[in-house]
């Protein structure tokens, strides 16, 4: 059984929580006692229908304010696959949570309130989804019931978004538009009779047919960051030396010639193991132990790659960055850069431009107040204390991103995408 990971995005009140609640309900993923709890909570709020958003807004502050503040993870499954949804908040102030929630997903569902059409948040979400190179975007035009299921309204929204897509989409990204009503379940799981002019698939049907991220990651160059060296030192495994890690991308085969980075030493894969079972190959996202023919110098934070497929050794990094902290990113400041599991010190040497998402344009000047603020996206240059072996994010998303850690707070303050 595979897993499809999805992020939902949209402005406040566009109906994300309701949509998710409905999907859970129709796939029989909500148990009777939870439905009863929903009924009484809805009644307490004076509603005469079931407020499905109460299912996902789990924090006290969220229920009080009636908004989603933090990413919630929600699970459901069909006979075909398991789904993990990251329900991300719509407010501008929570853009960082949107980036976080979307960072592990291969599908982005962007909700639009049919009455309001495309708004600034829509553009922002579209931009972020493309920046993260999320392969499949579904634009769900919601609350169609409130615009009398008007085809004209739907087409107008579609045309406007297609214009935006032209500027930010990347090759291979799919874009689908579905007219829905989350409240009444139209075109979510059941094909709606209210939209005879729409001949596309329902939302769930569309999801059922997407390929997962893992199958694609397995076809690109292979990267194996070593997490942990297994040395049992027991009698039985006296000379055993295994390299434990999760294959970031590509496929490794027993017998492959590999190079250890940064040492540059070369050896051959002797075994690929999982709990003692010997495999012929290992694919992206699999946690394995690799043993080599020769005793070469490999430790935590090193990377095994196939000979002839080395990523660039970088000490000067240009990256797009999304800032996640209330303290500005400033030129000259030193952070801890974590690339995969490997950490090095890094100094910000330049901030070259900031993105104005409203107008989809770049200001080619350094920011006026000298730094990058919370929720802003910009281009920066960094200099690291020792080289990292990263790929360009667009070529290998699994080996092309990093986080920045502020050593004074230990907080994760930024996420970067290597250019």
């Amino acid at each position: 059984m595979d897993i499809l990971r999805i992020a939902t995005a949209g402005s406040v009140d566009d109906g994300k929580s309701t949509l998710i609640g409905r999907l859970l309900y129709e796939t029989n993923s909500i148990t009777q006692d939870k439905i009863e709890a929903l009924e009484s909570a809805s009644k307490r709020k004076g509603l005469d229908f079931l407020d499905l958003s109460l299912l996902t807004d789990g924090l006290i502050a969220e229920r009080e304010q009636g908004i989603t503040i933090d990413v919630a993870h929600i699970y459901f499954s069909t006979p075909h696959r398991k789904y993990i949804i990251a329900d991300t908040p719509g407010h501008f102030e929570y853009t960082r949570n949107m980036v976080t929630g979307a960072s592990n997903t291969s599908v982005s569902i962007i909700l639009i309130d049919a009455r309001n059409g495309v708004v600034e948040q829509t553009k922002r979400h579209f931009y972020i989804s493309s920046m993260l190179r999320i392969k499949n975007i579904i634009v769900a035009v919601n609350k169609m019931d409130l615009v009398a299921y008007s085809q004209e309204k739907f087409e107008a929204i579609k045309a406007e978004l297609l214009g935006i897509a032209e500027q930010v989409s990347f090759k291979g990204q799919t874009l689908q538009f579905i007219p829905i009503s989350s409240l009444y379940g139209e075109n979510l799981v059941r094909k709606s009779e209210e939209t005879p002019w729409y001949d596309g698939a329902t939302l769930l049907d569309t999801l059922e047919h997407f390929s997962t991220q893992n199958s694609e990651l397995s076809t690109i160059q292979a990267r194996f960051p070593v997490q942990h060296v297994v040395r049992p030192k027991t009698e039985e495994y006296h000379d055993y030396r295994g390299y434990a890690g999760k294959i970031a991308s590509g496929t490794f085969l027993v017998g492959d010639l590999v190079e250890a980075l940064p040492s540059g030493q070369i050896s051959k894969i002797k075994t690929i193991e999982k709990f003692g079972t010997q495999l012929e190959s290992g694919n992206a996202k699999e946690s394995v132990v690799i043993t080599l023919e020769d005793n070469i110098d490999v430790s935590r934070g090193n990377m095994l790659v196939k000979v002839g497929e080395q990523p660039e050794s970088r000490k000067e990094i240009k990256a797009k960055i999304c800032w996640l902290d209330s303290q500005m990113l400033t030129v000259g400041k030193t952070y801890l850069l974590q690339h995969g599991i490997n950490r090095v010190k890094a100094k910000v040497t330049n901030i070259s431009s900031v993105i104005d998402i409203k107008n989809m344009s770049l200001s080619n000047e350094a920011p006026a107040d000298g730094g990058l603020k919370l929720n802003e996206i910009g281009w920066i240059s960094l200099k690291t204390a020792s080289p990292i072996f990263a790929d360009k994010y667009e070529e290998n998303p699994a080996n092309g991103s990093f986080i920045l850690i502020d050593e004074s707070s230990n907080g994760t303050v930024g996420v970067g995408f290597v250019e």
Partner: protein, 311 residues
């Protein structure tokens, strides 16, 4: 409730195989814990989730040993079957087990035994846990909590940083991007780690089945003295204050979670093997935490306990 009655489709989650990707993810997390922390421990309750975590740790470091100690916070109200199981597992895998008792925290005057009909030591164990963390200087505690269990848990991170007082601050959580885990902390702080965050109850059962793991016998049907309260079936025990009209009787039940005896409700069941248990879950009308008496106290019960240092 007009909009709700129109469910037309019959989509039923089925019991097809366990998604192995979840195991790979959990093993990756456990290996990060071993490398990023000085002294990690597994919080072991003897329940199916912590049994799963131990299995994952066994696989993550094989053929090496599990590099974590087990910590059990004993409320003194455990099912004896769970304790028996715990000792069997510890012995089988050659693990290091630490047990700390809520009873001792009560004797030391740090917490007060609850009284009345709903008296339970479930909330009290937080104090014992925090004391144990300090005593052993654990900097990471690995737990079997899952996001699908409860609404506040749906917002929990994989590495959940707690302050000096073990408290959870929902608004100050670190963003977790891709699979990069940031476990950097100051002295005195600690991290709760949840490697099976993304598993559902069904995933856990399917995993136990595929891995052929042994589990405590109370997960299967057995005859037991029970009584009814608030529409739930309670196991009769000396730890529960019954009123006169709560008359115990014998029937066939099993448990879906094995917490403290005072806060775990039983379900009527004839399931005596894993396939039947899984079948029951697929058709169940009640959620897993719906059988947790402690969660029924209020809608925000879990979030409030987490703020206080619960896991």
């Amino acid at each position: 409730m007009s909009t709700f009655s129109e469910k037309t489709t019959v989509y039923q989650a089925n019991d097809s195989s366990f998604p192995r990707e979840l195991e790979d993810e959990a093993i990756y997390i456990l290996r990060e814990v071993a490398s990023q922390f000085e002294k990690p421990a597994i919080l072991f309750s003897g329940g199916k989730d912590s049994i799963t975590v131990v299995r994952l740790a066994q696989k993550a470091f094989y053929p090496g040993k599990i590099p974590f100690a087990l910590l059990h916070v004993d409320t003194g109200h455990n099912f004896p079957e769970t304790i028996e199981y715990r000792d069997w597992l510890v012995n089988k895998l050659g693990l290091e087990l630490h047990v700390r008792y809520v009873e001792d925290s009560i004797k030391q005057g740090k917490v007060k035994e609850e009284t009345g009909k709903y008296a339970s030591r479930n909330a009290l164990q937080t104090v014992t846990l925090l004391d144990a963390i300090e005593e052993f200087k654990f900097d990471a505690c690995i737990g079997g909590a899952r996001r699908d269990e409860e609404k506040a848990r749906a917002k929990e991170r994989i590495f959940s940083v707690r302050d000096d007082f073990g408290q959870w601050n929902a608004k100050k959580q670190r963003p977790e991007l891709f699979d990069m885990l940031n476990g950097k902390i100051e002295l005195g702080e600690n991290v709760r780690v949840f490697p099976i965050s993304n598993w559902t109850e069904l995933d856990v059962w399917n995993y136990i089945k595929e891995e052929e793991l042994r589990i405590p016998s109370i997960y299967f049907t057995h005859e037991r003295e029970v009584f009814e309260r608030d529409g739930m079936i309670w196991a009769d025990s000396e730890f529960i204050n019954k009123s006169e009209d709560e008359v115990p009787y014998k029937t066939q039940v099993r448990f879906r979670t094995v917490g403290d005896m005072t806060c775990t409700a039983a379900v009527l069941s004839t399931a005596d093997n894993l396939d039947d248990v899984i079948g029951e879950i697929l058709s169940a009308q009640i959620s897993e935490r719906g059988a947790r008496i402690d969660d029924k106290r209020s809608e925000a019960a879990m979030e409030k306990r987490k703020q206080a240092g619960y896991f």
